[in-house]
């Protein structure tokens, strides 16, 4: 099989193309726009069947996506950051319709202050909406995950929309060698979309997404959506095994890198986890017993796998590329919830916040986090949450502030 250099965005577009999507409601936003431009180009040139329609907002885009999916066609869409938040009402809404489709989110930090670069606060905001979430660490994964996502979404045990997440710039605009599956193999894997009875036809009228009165029916419908999402765990294991057998690439729900004998683990989501992977190798060279866990599924949350993989470790560093204001790292909290009360839970689970707005995490910082973990494990005291931010950076921001405040200070002099 030959490999081609593709950006993460074009990989996502290939995923949609190979899944044979019928309909692409779209709205441009950096750093996602390349996805819809690529699809529009293929559709215009006739290389790809399907219809792309640019809506006037992401809110409308997700509404149209849900509307088309409820009518019985295969739908793909893509957004990022502010767009995901603008669509938020409809993310919750269409998930409740139980309509399967795939949305690619290119993660980008949220305003304010507005930025173009990557972090995970956008996708974390969509954590509870009912969409399943697959987080990618490479361009190959973006393509493969898009195919997996259609199988997952359309499975009768799930029937929920799925978000495939990739990091802006670090993946979206970064080319990597990607193996593009043969069209017939991809089509064979994904299969045809069977809308079942969720569709609009003159001879079989139906009223979808109707209102309820009272908490009892509401509880039923909401909890069923939760149960369907939970089913996604075993369904995902099945289809990823089939994917692995078909294409020879393994994408487990949780990537466990050099974890077998490891005393210490990093836990991270997304493309920055490959930096952690590199740090693990260098630390192992230096005699450390350390590994990396990278959940690819965030919803449903692979709680059992994580619990099993974390059992018996001396210390764990959770590096969150997001920040829940007034609480801290979201993944850190979720992991603690999964571990609490289990006899083999690691005594130290430390929280680090890093990579906000695309800020890099250096190799030295990974090494230092490992040192911090070891000290904590030795003393039995979990360190307070730490923002990865250096004195140099603080000095720089002071300089910027001096410039920003200069004129006002001169006026007041």
């Amino acid at each position: 099989m030959s490999r081609t250099l593709l950006t993460g965005n074009v990989s996502a577009a290939w995923g949609a193309r190979l899944a044979g999507v019928d309909y692409v409601p779209a709205f441009p936003i950096t750093p996602q726009t390349e996805i819809i431009e690529t699809l529009a180009g293929w559709i215009d040139s006739g290389e790809m069947a399907g219809r792309l329609v640019t809506l006037e907002s992401e809110h409308s885009m997700i509404t149209a996506a849900g509307g088309a999916a409820t009518t019985g066609v295969r739908v793909f869409s893509a957004t990022s950051s502010q767009g995901l938040l603008y669509a938020m009402e409809m993310l919750y809404t269409v998930a409740g319709w139980r309509t399967p489709f795939v949305l690619v989110n290119v993660s980008r930090g949220l305003s304010a202050p507005i930025t173009l670069e990557s972090d995970h606060n956008d996708i974390m905001a969509a954590r509870d909406c009912g969409f399943l979430q697959i987080h990618c660490a490479s361009c190959q994964e973006v393509l493969d995950s898009t195919l997996l996502a259609y199988r997952l979404a359309e499975d009768t045990r799930v029937r929920l929309p799925v978000i495939v997440n990739l990091d802006g710039f670090y993946l979206s605009f970064t080319r990597e060698p990607v193996e593009i599956p043969a069209a017939d193999a991809a089509a064979g894997f994904v299969g045809d979309f069977d809308p079942q009875n969720a569709r609009f036809r003159a001879s079989t009228p139906e009223s979808q997404a109707v209102a309820v009165l009272g908490g009892s029916p509401y509880s039923y419908f909401r909890y069923e959506t939760h149960l369907a999402s939970l089913n996604g765990l075993s369904v995902y294991d099945e289809i990823s095994a089939e994917f692995s057998a078909t294409f020879g690439r393994n994408h487990p729900a949780v990537e466990a890198y050099r974890t077998g004998d490891a005393d210490y683990l990093f836990v991270m989501l997304g493309s920055f986890a490959t930096k952690a992977r590199e740090a693990v190798d260098r630390l192992r060279d230096a005699g450390w017993s350390i590994g990396l866990l990278r959940p690819r599924l965030l919803r449903p949350f692979p709680e059992e796998s994580l619990r099993r993989l974390l059992a018996g470790r001396r210390g764990v560093a959770v590096i969150d590329q997001n920040l829940s204001m007034g609480k801290g790292g979201v993944l850190h909290g979720e992991l603690l919830g999964a571990l609490y009360g289990h006899p083999q839970a690691p005594p130290v689970v430390a929280s680090f916040i890093g990579g906000l707005g695309g800020r890099d995490i250096s190799a030295e910082e990974f090494y230092e986090m490992a040192q911090t973990l070891r000290q904590a494990a030795d003393t039995g005291r979990t360190p307070p949450p730490r923002l990865l931010y250096t004195r140099d950076e603080l000095r720089e921001i002071r300089k910027l502030q001096a410039v920003a405040h200069q004129e006002r200070e001169e006026l007041h002099r």
Binding site: R98, A198, E206, V210, A228
Partner: protein, 312 residues
């Protein structure tokens, strides 16, 4: 704790009743909760409001399931299951009904063991949705039944709650409410505070483990068509339009088209037939009928005539 429910129709002032009683309790030094229950209720549709009052802080919230007193402003609601008037009524629950019928008739009809008291419907009005000042009247009667609210306190509560409505309206309400308060003298204190749910011996909730159902079943989708007809909106009606076929011109396209609910069908002879299961009693047909062949009659009267075999 006192737990009191007011039942009436949208437009009859049940929220006002609960607020007046709530204020009166509060002025007497009680801790209080009062609230209306909103849903898809419209004018004429059954609604309710409730009041809790206790000497200590109130931790209970939401709908009252075991009331100490149930006040019914509109007796046509009592036999309607959807209105929930009789929900949770026990042997010690006092049922106060605003009605022209007597206590024993109601006791027999409902086959309940608890005390039933009637509030003689003071002003008979054609349209029950316009029952004047009935909210305050109900609150006045309830205030006396609990026996811990002074007459002056009730008056103060009414003045507070109705302050936005102007002196004339307040005076009429005061007059009616105090009259109801006085009528209930013999029953003062009949309503006793209910106890809290015991944690020692209680009915265990029969929790189910929700099974996973596929989206075919568990999506909020209705595969039936036009099954809203199963909802009997005729219960909202306080006035009934009745066609006098001796005067009917058979110009069905007027009444049948204008009926917002499509509740006037046309039979094979071109005769309009009103569907009383669904007619909400808006009276547009009465207003529009060219030969004035449709008459508005009191729903209560119409029902009474129907049960006694008379045609209205």
């Amino acid at each position: 704790m006192y737990r009191i429910r007011f039942h009436g129709r949208g437009g009859q002032g049940m929220k006002t009743a609960s607020r007046i009683l709530g204020s009166a309790f509060f002025l007497e030094g009680f801790e209080v909760q009062d609230a209306p229950r909103y849903g898809a209720e419209r004018r004429g549709a059954p609604i309710f409001a409730y009041v809790r009052a206790a000497r200590a802080a109130i931790n209970e919230r939401g709908i009252i399931s075991r009331p100490d007193l149930v006040v019914v402003a509109d007796d046509t609601l009592v036999p309607v299951p959807a209105s929930g008037v009789l929900s949770g009524i026990g042997a010690r629950t006092v049922l106060l009904i605003n009605t022209t019928q007597n206590t024993s008739a109601w006791q027999q009809r409902l086959n309940i063991s608890g005390p039933v008291i009637t509030l003689p419907a003071s002003a008979e009005v054609e349209d029950r949705a316009d029952l004047p000042y009935i909210g305050a009247t109900c609150a006045g009667a309830a205030a006396r039944l609990v026996g811990v609210i002074a007459r002056d306190t009730l008056a103060g509560a009414i003045r507070t709650e109705l302050s936005a409505l102007g002196a004339g309206v307040i005076d009429r309400n005061l007059e009616n409410a105090l009259q109801a308060y006085d009528i209930m003298q013999a029953h003062s204190g009949l309503v006793r505070e209910g106890s809290m749910t015991s944690a020692i011996k209680y009915a265990h909730p029969d929790w189910a483990d929700l099974p996973f159902d596929t989206a075919r079943i568990s999506a909020p989708t209705v595969f039936a068509t036009a099954n809203s007809v199963e909802v009997r909106t005729g219960l909202w009606r306080t006035l009934r339009p009745v066609v006098d076929y001796s005067r009917c011109n058979h110009c069905w396209w007027v009444c049948s088209t204008f009926c917002p609910d499509g509740a006037i069908a046309v039979d094979t002879d071109g005769k309009p037939v009103i569907d009383y299961d669904h007619c909400k009693g808006c009276m547009i047909c009465v207003a529009q009928c060219p030969p004035h062949a449709i008459e508005a009659v009191s729903e209560e009267q119409a029902q009474r005539d129907t049960t006694t075999g008379e045609t209205p």
